[in-house]
């Protein structure tokens, strides 16, 4: 376990905010407390953001596990550069990680720059499938699996920068420390809980190269202290093209695309994916869909407001010397591409899970007919008081015997009135 999205039952008042907000209707309120259906959850963290009582929180890494790893590699997410006040010596950031006890730092932005090139090439080489969809946001990938399986084939078959950074970092570290793979631990400093999902439940058939996902906000305090210390020598800069990935639209810009759609926020993404399914976006090359406000800078583990973070990143892009020391992996794009390092294979079993199972149409039609019969009895207010987000969801739950008609407050009130009249 890396970190957990912890749910504090004591703090939960059963207010239904999270349940209504959830884009996949994964939350129900049972007996006055929120319950998440893990099968439906896409780790978008909307519930964490909206909960007024802070019932959801994240438990950070167990420090004992960290001790047992011989060589610890940190992979700071691109959003980290948006978290520091303007004018902060950005080239100190990677050095600060070493001061925190990591042995090696591999900036995610380097991998992001490489993937930007790969996206550009993929779009030019593969003209068959349109639009291609970014794999960077695990919540979006999960949404596609869960709600838009017909678009699985539109996912661009490239790993996300986190994964590529981890692969390349491992390779580097083995050379530098002359050690075995199992002596290395790769820590991703994450802007959001969804990245954990990408590690524990990757889209491809291969195991993730990340070992642990550390919420950015849990180490930010110590990190910033180190960054501010003047004695630290400049270590290395992020890739300016790479850090664009932290904000919505940045991938496309960094890949120098001109025919793309950039969208954030689950509701908006759902609108766009509906259009793709209807065949209206065949003329678009690329869709950059990110779950959080303004992209990854909107992730719950960031400390800075997403709009301010965007401004900070723009400032860095404008005021940093492109030529300061980076990583020479950036010059090896062709080599990596030819070796197929960037390629993502979408697991067959995934498609099997979501697509290929034979259904009994007759039974399925009977099921939705019965659900609609139940729906007709419900008031259609979608008030959420029963503990389900909509009357339709409640009708499904009743059909599946997870809930009862009488759980509806409106029906209950009517029943009570009728009883009174009888008396």
């Amino acid at each position: 376990m890396n970190f957990n999205v912890m749910f504090d039952e004591e703090k939960c008042k059963g207010c239904t905010n999270c349940m209504r907000r959830c884009p996949t209707q994964a939350i129900r309120i049972y007996k006055g407390k929120a319950v998440i259906d893990n099968v439906r959850c896409i780790h978008c963290a909307e519930c964490i953001k909206i909960c007024p009582y802070e019932a959801y929180s994240t438990e950070s890494v167990d420090s004992k596990i960290q001790q047992s790893i011989k060589y610890k590699i940190a992979i700071p997410s691109t959003t980290i550069y948006g978290q520091f006040p303007k004018g902060t010596e950005i080239c100190n950031v990677q050095n600060a990680f070493l001061k925190l006890g990591f042995d090696y730092v591999y900036d995610e932005s380097w991998a992001a720059e490489l993937i930007s090139k790969a996206i550009k090439d993929k779009i030019n080489e593969n003209k068959e499938i349109r639009p291609l969809i970014s794999t960077n946001c695990p919540s979006v990938v999960r949404l596609i699996k869960f709600r838009y399986p017909s678009l699985l084939g539109n996912l661009i078959s490239l790993e996300d920068p986190m994964e590529i950074a981890a692969k390349l970092a491992r390779k580097r570290a083995k050379e530098i420390f002359n050690c075995d793979d199992n002596e290395i631990g790769v820590f991703y400093i994450s802007p959001c809980p969804a990245k954990l999902l990408a590690v524990t439940d990757p889209i491809g058939p291969n195991k993730s190269s990340i070992d642990r996902v550390v919420p950015l906000n849990t180490i930010y305090g110590q990190l910033y202290k180190e960054v501010k210390k003047q004695e630290n020598l400049c270590f290395s800069n992020p890739s300016l093209k790479g850090i664009m990935w932290a904000v919505s639209g940045g991938q496309s810009k960094s890949a120098e695309l001109n025919n793309y759609v950039s969208v954030y926020g689950m509701e908006n993404i759902i609108d766009v994916f509906d259009e793709v399914e209807n065949g209206r976006l065949f003329h678009i090359d690329f869709i950059e869909a990110l779950s959080c406000t303004d992209g990854c800078v909107g992730g719950t583990f960031n400390v800075e407001n997403p709009y301010v973070a965007r401004n900070n990143i723009n400032y860095i892009i404008d005021h940093t010397d492109e030529n300061t020391l980076q990583n020479d992996d950036l010059d090896k794009y062709e080599e990596f591409k030819n070796k197929g390092i960037f390629n993502l294979v979408i697991a067959d079993e995934d498609e099997g899970d979501f697509k290929k199972h034979k259904i009994n149409i007759k039974q399925a039609v009977e099921r939705i007919d019965k659900i609609k019969d139940i729906l007709a009895l419900l008031p259609g207010l979608d008030c959420g008081s029963c503990g389900a987000p909509t009357c339709y969801a409640q009708a499904e739950d009743i059909y599946d015997e997870k809930s009862k008609l009488i759980d509806c407050v409106v029906l209950r009130a009517k029943l009570n009135e009728n009883k009174k009249e009888e008396k």
Binding site: P149, E277, R280, I361, I368
Partner: protein
């Protein structure tokens, strides 16, 4: 085989607020039935194009989705003015959509060709009294 279920929608001419509601409802019904996603994608495309053609080019009509155990049939009927030259209308890129509609992003002239391409059986009849289209997608 027996018809298991029919979903029907009234489609209004020139109403871009409600446009697409029928196909979107058909899509969500078929999703909850659990239709294979590749097939669903085809149905989504043909349904949407057919519905939009009623909105844009006709005086109004109906959209139906018939569910059978072995196939899905999408039917449309409208009340005119009909398509004078079907072969021409079926040509990729041919469109009589006015500029006002093109500004909304429609009128690429790919609707009918795609409806044919994505359905297993495509049947069309048209006269000045109206256009009927029947698209069968095998499961």
């Amino acid at each position: 085989m027996d018809l298991l279920k029919r979903l029907s929608y009234h489609v209004l001419s020139n109403n871009f607020i409600k446009a697409g509601k029928g196909s979107s409802d058909i899509k969500s019904n078929l999703k909850s039935i659990g239709i294979d996603s590749d097939i669903l994608r085809k149905i989504a495309i043909v349904c949407y194009e057919a519905e939009m053609n009623i909105v844009i080019h006709s005086l109004g009509g109906n959209l139906h989705c018939d569910i059978y155990e072995e196939k899905i049939v999408i039917l449309t009927e409208d009340i005119g003015p009909g398509i004078p030259d079907i072969e021409l209308a079926m040509t990729e890129g041919f469109s009589t959509a006015p500029d006002s509609v093109r500004e909304l992003g429609f009128g690429a002239g790919m609707g009918l060709p795609n409806m044919k391409r994505y359905s297993d059986i495509f049947e069309i009849n048209s006269s000045i009294k109206g256009t009927n289209i029947k698209m069968t997608i095998l499961l």
